[in-house]
Symmetry: D2
Subunit: 331 residues, 4 copies
């Protein structure tokens, strides 16, 4: 009997969205506790990735923990905010040593919060670490700043797990941790057992990676901390519902997760600017479940045999039968 | 009762493939008549787009016609070869007036062949007309050469239909007729009733168009001569089997064709470098049929209502139900 | 003696920037009059494209006019804000007729402002008109909504000029007016003499157009209302300083503008998130001037001859000599 | 006094070009010795990367060596042909063990040739190793095949140096060794001191890497065997002349090579389909020399200071002054 899937989400997907044009935002302000309420409404989530510090200065970790527990949720991760105004020119790689120090302290400040919430890991998403213009930076210096900054944080608490979430671009036009392979190289230099990778399906599509390939590359080195799912059009991190654009590659990603025996959360990371976030989360969960059910039905031996022969047409036929039904029908 | 779909193919997809690295080709030479035999083997094709001149100097149009008829095929189109060595720097836009003249004559030479074969149209695929380097060309001059050259050909025989097949790139790095909209602008300047557009699904994906949008733009102006189907990864014209990469967008393209009441051929244009071409054609036909069957089942009224509201999640749900089955199942 | 270049800028480039991550913005709030002050500080600008309504409810058009005049500036354009929260699902193409009506009224409301400010044109930038998901919209309906909405606005005042600024994407993932050619097709349907196109160099690069080609296509049809300059990495509208990434294509664009005898403004449209906007404007102006000076020195006859032959290497040599100096030097 | 630059080229750039459309090729056949003659004509080359086996069955290594020597050339590298018809479905990763064996033997057969020619390294360019369709392959299996195959070759002769040239795509749509970082990960697994990377500037641009960043990443790990230069439009390996499209990024790449103290060859890898290859090589050499001369003039201390501050506008100003001349001029 297949194991029941467990779902989680970034809490931000239930918050307020803004961009550089709709500066009056895509909806009213949403507080942390209200966002938790929305997450609860989804009815299928069991874990949350939550940003710290909370936007509300007087909101305590205890209150958040309580609200999560009351809603049947727990914290999967705490993600320190190292990409807002203060860190606009970088967090771990900021040119100013004082700001680099602030980034490290900000990241460390998430550790006791993660302990208190019982979270599995602290996530680094250094979206401002990189550059915008040719010749702007000394790339070796950026790399060394990032490696040493992250090493300091992760070695400060060997009992906590940490993970880097790589992304090809945005908000920085060129982000340092852009791909799975580059991040794996950095992990080796950092050389800390408690540091892994969070792989976001959309970030991988954006980086023109083959997600099913990279997730196995990461897992094989024992570095897959968690996965986040969504979809996009491959030239921006659109954070759409799962499977809405890349159905076949999403199926292949799910297949890869099953191959490596993934039993962790299936996290959602979406930005439903113009949709209801609760419905958008449910749509993704339905899609993930349905993709898993499709794969329950696939003839795995036949698929393996086709892949052993690298037989594109045979493999495609097995896959298309899942999506398109009996292929031999007439019309 | 739905109309039976009629399929066709470019004859080249049953021939020999070569590229710049495997200069010994991906397989042995295949003559025109042998390629027709392969097309017949597919068992589902009824029409062919055929290049002229034939590679065999002594092969007559009569022989080809006979071979087609014997195999139950007819010519949908004749495509003059205006993109080989002689035309490497352009056909209608070649810098040398003598070569431009040759291109026009070459194109005209396809007209009597099309008449003799009973083909529906002569197709221009000016894949060498464009440029490779910045500053290489006077773009206005290129445009005028192309417009006047094509005008000369199409006005030379008002009883024949003609069509331009646009493509974003390859073999020329920048092709003049790159998108549906640019080609429609050229068509207006040429102002000939017997000239339309052949829209290749893969070329549209490559141009980062929304194929379902552009096919309606073309059709609405009465300019859709034919369609060709295949798939690719959106940064090259990979000419893979239909639906192998972009399943949802292929479905949407099929939906658009049904909306405009398409009763013409569903042409295949593939380059199965490493696959059996007969099997590759069958795979595409199976996919096109299956996509049509899925759409037979969609609740069109609900889809129209969702689109009237521009309700992404509702529309997605209708579509995903087709691909993924009942979405409400548990797991 | 060459004519003196005249520069302008979108006023927004001197304002506050925000994105979806740095929700506390990249800097403090900047009022309209303060932004005008910054524009004046550039010391080289003579015209402004200004959004309406102003963010400050009590700011009068008279005050703005005064502030511009005092700073030696005038309004080149007024751009109605039809892309904020209210219009997040579309302006002219919003699914709700009442919001489409609001968009039309909002656009019309900019006309008396433009008259009062003495602006040359009202600019439509319908960045929310389009779609995010496959199957979300009826593309024909979107097109018709946009055509009829814009027609209503531009025919309401034949004495005012109007222009559409096309853009490939953002904030909507797929924008209806995505390319020069599609916009020209819409212009024909709208069929209004007082409607043209504002071409943004970066938008053209983003759409994978050849900017020097498209600007001539537009100009030749008498539809070039204005140009905006900036640079990006071709997969997002990064709004960087002119020539910072695509030096050769920027030079070619400037060359094309000179060929069509451009005497209008050279407008800047930048988003210097992490740079000083006054300095970023100056950098672009220096680059535009320098590109013009380079072209003052080019042997136009030799370039024309090379382009007549479509001789890539000869044309490149002329261009590289401008950038790289004497090419024959040893080392 | 700056060191004199030494140039090399892939011999193929002086041969015959063909693609899938101009199957009659872009010019007449060119034999190996004739290609060497053309390389000599360039007048600036001192080293050659040469394919093995030679196309001519009776051409001996001795004759080639003689011809090179007579022309003042030497072999920098020997590149075994593991990407033609026989290897169309893969070389080291071919599904059939017998073909994988052939690939290994083919690669090994280049080693004595490299010794006899006095070449610096044997280059692997496994352009067919990868996949075309989703679900076609077991990615872990492909990786292991490649790692073990290459390991066998490189450990068979510790006195020879070897290098992998990575490429994002083509001829295989998805190539296994797609980026610098992925290739570095493979190198670690292979763990052979005599194996490095050949970095092709165009391949790096195609992979959406920042070439100046990756070349330092490779060099720092002691793995930079050689570099090849050319240019393209970033979505295909167009193999154009150096600096023709990406002037600023080419300058930055040259700057990075100078920073790491590069004293090796500056190899050319071009496919001048429609240009004279001797002239195309000269154009690239002129550009590389000129880029180096520009950098001789840059204020390195000021650049380093700007990069320490990650000051985009200051760094850009230094760079633009090189390309555009005195920026303060009026107009």
């Amino acid at each position: 009997m297949p194991q029941k899937l467990r779902f989680g989400a970034g809490l931000w997907m239930f918050g307020q969205f803004v961009d550089r044009y709709a500066t009056d935002a895509y909806g009213p302000r949403v507080g942390t506790l209200e966002a938790i309420d929305r997450a609860v409404q989804v009815g299928e989530l069991s874990a949350i990735d939550i940003n710290f510090p909370f936007p509300e200065p007087d909101l305590t970790v205890g209150r958040v923990k309580e609200a999560l527990a009351k809603g049947g949720l727990r914290a999967a991760a705490v993600t320190p905010v190292i990409y807002n105004r203060q860190f606009q020119k970088g967090s771990f790689t900021h040119p100013d040593a004082a700001v680099r120090r602030s980034a490290i302290e900000r990241a460390k400040s998430a550790i006791p919060v993660a302990h208190e919430l019982g979270a599995d890991y602290v996530k680094f998403w250094p979206g401002q670490d990189g550059f915008d213009y040719p010749f702007q930076s000394d790339y070796v210096q950026l790399w060394d700043y990032a490696v040493s900054g992250i090493r300091e944080v992760v070695t400060s608490d060997p009992k906590m797990r940490f993970a880097i979430e790589y992304k090809f671009k945005e908000p920085r036009i060129h982000i340092l941790f852009s791909t799975a392979a580059r991040t794996l190289l950095a992990l080796e230099e950092i050389a800390a057992d408690n540091l892994g990778i969070v792989m976001d399906l959309g970030h991988s599509l954006l980086a023109k990676e083959t997600p099913a390939e990279e997730v196995q590359l990461i897992a094989r080195r024992g570095k897959l901390t968690n996965v986040e799912l969504n979809d996009n059009w491959r030239d921006w991190d659109d954070d759409l519902t799962v499977g809405s654009v890349h159905l076949t590659e999403s199926l292949e990603f799910v297949h890869a997760l099953r191959k490596i025996g993934w039993t962790g959360y299936w996290m959602l990371d979406q930005f439903p600017f113009r949709e209801d976030p609760v419905e958008a989360a449910r749509a993704s969960i339905r899609a993930i479940r349905a993709l898993n059910r499709l794969l329950d039905r696939v003839d795995l031996e036949a698929l393996r045999a086709a892949q052993d022969r690298q037989d594109a047409l045979a493999a495609q036929r097995l896959v298309q039968r899942l999506f398109l039904g009996e292929l031999e029908g007439s019309r």
